[in-house]
Subunit: 404 residues, 2 copies
């Protein structure tokens, strides 16, 4: 197994990258809300966007721009999603990329823009422009933490990571940051995630590594089953490490993909742990399914079920809700064969139900801030893992009063 | 439009039916938990069962029995779902039908059994048998209200209805009762619903009317998106009214179907209003979809979204969450054409977003205990209606601590 050395610096940890996060007053006063990430030189880029058919203006713009395979800067703001804002929204997104390019002295087509926040609010463009100027003058190798803070919405903490490993005898760095705490569901979340690396990686290889990593991380994450209009995952690879360019089908590619997977899974876990109002981080594993797809369908149904999630919140060993969710997920299931475990305690064994002692043991496992729920369907070899959290009063409090 | 006269008596309102509800101590003390509904003579029967692949023992048993098209008694209990109880569960379901038949002196194959409550708990058969004996001796034309009370779980009120109308010059009665407050989702809910009529209705016609009525009522209902292992909807038609037998393709059939639809929609609305912790009853209408199926998919996504439901709870005019749900529902949508209304207030008009005054007007509409959210996609003629409720702290309180 590849080991990675944790380093500080987040999204600006890799050589040739700078970042900044500043207060621009987009929606709230007294908090950072504009982030800027810039590579010294144009970088190879790959991205994954929301599957929501209602895509925010910045998503539509970035989709056009990342086709070129090159980007140099990412502007992100929190507070205003610039979604469902019609033609004005598209004009605003383009304008923000334009003035960012001017301030940085780079080509406009190399600027990507990302937004998160309230849908249906027009972007306060003057405040955003002032923020960009301020961020550009604050850009530094130490700016990762500020940038991570500036993209938070209902997040209670900023989320960043960076690791180093060797490729072709060179030390390379891969760092990243993300935001997202609610409206989180596979394919994808209300999440923004930005990764940067100084590794030289060919466009196809970068894209392949990103998709593999996203599948087992951000796309295996459920908070509430909602999917946003703004989800964006971007990786920039600027080649500053000087390694031989990574191409697919090589040991270097496998090594780079492992690192990408590690970084994405760790960021995804941070998001589940910070799920709106979450008090429990739960890893749902489904094994023995007919297919991997069936396993994923069952795992997501468990992770999305309000009844299951509230039982976790109440530390209630109500495994019946877990099997009910599997039953309606659409996955093939025979309840005469199913086994359900809470950590290593078997709650249900092919028709044999938990006795009082077992229920007490399950309750004990559920007292911990993190536990696993594992379902073995005993039908085949399909498996899936989903990261999720419980559903608490905190979620209601946060979401019943978000715009006002 | 057909008009119906409301009458009292619920599930025992129709001639030739009796009902009772008694305390048997299945799970809790001091509450009715066993219901019995009996027709004087074998009746034509039609039923709709859960689509959950994990079906409780009583559902499996009833599925076999209703194939015959005849039934005379329904035994229902709350507290124990008899689901995921393996072969013992099936033996217990059969045994409960057997002793009910003995007590009533009818053929065992004419007894249907239904359970709702905690999954994975074995049925306390002796207590159930004692309850059946007690219920059998309490059977009466006035027992509908007790029966309706005996099937409640987290319901805060019992739910019954009965109407009279004329068929073939005869006064016929159609009554019903149901339970269900959580785990409610189209196709179907954790719900038990029992209908009785003294109309003479041919088996095919009874089945066709039931399916038409279920589609626009119980299958258009969302509380939390969970679907249970025990859902059952049964109608008994015993012909005591002496009308010419209703067959498909006749005005009588249309009249009977209208009545069935009315009764089912009213019962479904009662369930949504009593949704666990619900403070708002919301009717979601989607019009102008490419197809009816697309409209239904979009309406259900809105009704299931925790973010939308919490915004209703907070009386927060956050229509952006509504359009985001439509966007990820899978329905065809062009946000440049969509209109969204809260009652008659237009929140979003094809790219034009609500101003402060509109938001205030929306908030005013949301103060009411009932309001409509209407989405017009302006793509075609497909439409759908879904009945639902908000998501509140009450839901969390109820569900975080249900088995314990």
């Amino acid at each position: 197994m590849q080991s990675f050395v944790d380093v500080s610096g987040g999204v600006a940890a890799a050589n040739g990258f700078k970042a900044a996060g500043v207060e621009a007053g987009i929606k709230y006063a007294g908090r950072k809300d504009v982030a800027l990430i810039v590579s010294d030189v144009p970088a190879n880029v790959s991205a994954v966007y929301t599957t929501n058919r209602v895509a925010a203006a910045p998503v539509q713009l970035d989709r056009e721009r990342t086709v070129s395979g090159k980007a140099q800067a990412i502007l992100a703001n929190s507070g205003c999603a610039n979604a469902c804002t019609g033609e004005q929204g598209m004009r605003d997104a383009r304008a923000s990329a334009r003035f960012t390019a001017e301030v940085l002295g780079i080509d406009e087509s190399l600027v990507l823009v990302c937004s998160t926040g309230v849908i249906g609010m027009l972007m306060p463009l003057e405040r955003l422009e002032a923020g960009v100027k301020s961020a550009a003058s604050a850009l530094s190798r130490d700016g990762g933490a500020d940038a991570a803070r500036a993209i938070m919405t209902t997040d209670t903490c900023s989320k960043e990571i960076a690791v180093q490993f060797t490729l072709d005898g060179r030390t390379v760095t891969l760092g990243g940051m993300c935001k997202g705490a609610g409206m989180i569901e596979p394919d994808m979340a209300t999440m923004l995630a930005f990764l940067t690396t100084d590794a030289a990686v060919a466009p196809n290889a970068l894209d392949a590594a990103l998709r593999k990593a996203a599948a087992v991380s951000f796309n295996s994450l459920v908070v509430d089953g909602d999917r946003s209009t703004n989800d964006t995952l971007i990786v920039l690879a600027n080649g500053a490490a000087g390694n031989r360019e990574v191409v697919e089908g090589t040991p270097d590619f496998d090594r780079f993909t492992d690192a990408m997977r590690h970084v994405c899974v760790e960021l995804a876990k941070k998001m589940a742990k910070d799920g709106e109002g979450a008090s429990k981080f739960v890893t749902v594993r489904v094994n023995g399914a007919t297919t991997d797809k069936d396993a994923a369908v069952a795992a997501r149904a468990i992770a999305k079920s309000p009844l299951v999630k509230t039982s976790w919140a109440g530390m209630d060993p109500n495994w019946g809700r877990v099997i009910a969710a599997v039953g309606y997920s659409g996955a093939a299931v025979d309840d005469g064969r199913v086994q359900i475990f809470y950590d290593d305690v078997c709650a249900y064994d092919a028709g044999r139900v938990a006795d009082a002692q077992t229920l007490a043991a399950m309750k004990e496992k559920m007292r911990k801030p993190e536990f696993d729920v594992t379902v073995d369907l005993h039908l085949g070899t399909g498996s899936a893992v989903v990261y999720t959290c419980d559903l608490t009063h905190g979620y209601i409090t946060i979401n019943a009063d978000y715009t006002t």
